[in-house]
């Protein structure tokens, strides 16, 4: 017989809030699957994923160019953001005097708080004309979108990597310096290798943000459904596809947009699993493992 006291109600109340947030997420995912699967069924799994043509008026729903668009934009932005972010993190964790860090850290965090529409607007007004002048074409391109995304994912990469560098025990650093290593040799040979799992986690989190970003990309990527022949060609991302067409889609077209969402959910889940695995592995390596 449970006691109907304060303790009981608080415990059950907490349980209820925890369970309800899980149920809400589960219901959303269930709904996305329910609405998306008919499109995959009618188009066929392979012709949906690997089909080259997206023509809702002709009943063709192939999302391969958009998968390439999303991956292309993501990879390009990571190529720019990872070196920039990791070196910035090394600088902040190891070299910057504390006064400088007090200015730089909040500045970088502010970058993370700016709404994506502001980035998109900035890109549209400044970056797109600049790209048009420099590289020709319309200026709307995979590259333009990547540049905007680079700035957007930089704060995640910097802050998570910086934490990784900071969490390396001081004893390693002291041991290395006491053996006559220079500061840079210590960073390169001891601190960086020990922080690699954390750095990879930061990259994956940045990648997740890049894959999920919608608005800023719509505003600068050009949104043409095609496999780009150069990085200066316009592309459409998976997220953009949903946002652009959701206003007027009906029937299978409507289902196909949800199916696009399923593909996105899978991409993000895979990344999160990898990130969690590395986080776990990091704890193991610190304890008794081996780099």
């Amino acid at each position: 017989m449970p006691k109907w006291d304060e303790e009981f109600f608080i415990e059950k109340g907490l349980l209820l809030t925890a369970v309800s947030s899980i149920i809400i997420i589960a219901l959303i995912i269930l709904f996305v699957f329910k609405e998306g699967i008919p499109a995959i069924e009618s188009t066929g799994f392979f012709s949906f994923l690997f089909g080259m043509d997206w023509a809702p008026t002709k009943g063709e729903y192939g999302i391969f160019p958009m998968i390439i668009g999303t991956l292309g934009i993501t990879v390009l932005s990571l190529l720019m953001a990872v070196p920039l972010g990791v070196f910035c993190a090394i600088f902040l964790a190891e070299i910057a005097p504390s006064a400088m860090r007090k200015v730089l850290n909040p500045t970088i965090q502010t970058l993370a708080g700016i709404p994506s529409v502001v980035y998109g607007f900035f890109g549209l007004v400044l970056l797109v004309p600049f790209m048009r002048l420099q590289f020709g074409g319309t200026g709307f391109s995979m590259f333009t979108a990547s540049v905007i995304l680079t700035v957007m994912i930089l704060p995640i990469i910097v802050s998570v990597s910086e934490d990784a560098f900071r969490s390396i025990p001081l004893e390693y650093k002291e041991a290395s310096l006491a053996l006559g290593a220079t500061h840079w040799q210590t960073i390169k040979n001891v601190i960086f290798p020990a922080a690699i799992p954390g750095v990879i986690t930061s990259v994956i989190l940045g990648m997740g943000r890049a894959i999920g970003e919608t608005l800023a990309i719509i505003m600068v990527a050009g949104n043409v459904v095609q496999i780009p022949s150069s990085i200066f060609d316009p592309v459409r991302a998976l997220t953009s596809n949903i946002a652009i067409e959701m206003g007027y889609a009906t029937g299978i077209h409507y289902n196909a947009l949800f199916a696009t969402g399923i593909v996105l959910i899978f991409m993000i889940i895979v990344l999160l699993v990898i990130a969690n695995y590395l986080h776990y592995k990091k704890k193991v390596t610190m304890g008794g493992g081996y780099l």
Binding site: Y172, A175, A178, G180, A181, M286, Y290, L291
Partner: protein, 251 residues
Amino acid sequence: MEYRIEVEDLNVYFDELHILKDINLKIPKNAVTSLIGPSGCGKSTFIRTLNRMNDMISTFKMDGTVLLDGEDIYNPKVDVVELRKKVGMVFQKPNPFPKSIFDNVAYGLRVHGINDKDFLAQKVEESLKEAALWDEVKNILDKSAMGLSGGQQQRLCIARTIAVEPEVILMDEPCSALDPISTTKIEDLIHKLKKDFTIIIVTHNMQQATRVSKHTAFFLHGEIVESGLTEKIFIEPEDKRTEDYITGRFG
């Protein structure tokens, strides 16, 4: 007697805190010198002054001179990297790198630009033998150093230190995290190493000081109360405070 390190009128401050006060101490060559005294008396700060590890702390200030083989190590022209090659350090907590046993010992040589494989292998073997660890690890050199026991890790740290052939080895309570058997092994090792190296060891364990060292300095509240031959300090101390400390009346 020949001295390797001569400290004259050394004062150390962290911000406004006066940690070490007018320290004068001479460290004899190729012998073991113990630094004893209660926690917080400045022993660790003192030995970290000898290889300039305190430079890492932004509030560190010092005056006075520290001579190594007659040369002032705080002279602005001194290369700190070269100094730390000559003055190695073993820390309180065994701190091997999360790398293989081989790479731990080879680390110091590699950062000094030595990459010849045969030479590295030979040097790693010599150092591990000198640190009395070779027989235990010769078949697992490519395994992680983190898998070794605490005592083995500490001997690995000593091997890593002697691989770069320092003149002086500073040991900051090297046995405080170890069991009695591992402690005995480290003490035996210290006896063996004193032929080739000048050793300074900080210890809380008075028996250890009498067992391993020829000279002892007693620190209290940032000052050296008494220093000299270990036997003399432990058998007929001149200062009342030394006597109180070694007989266990405080500290």
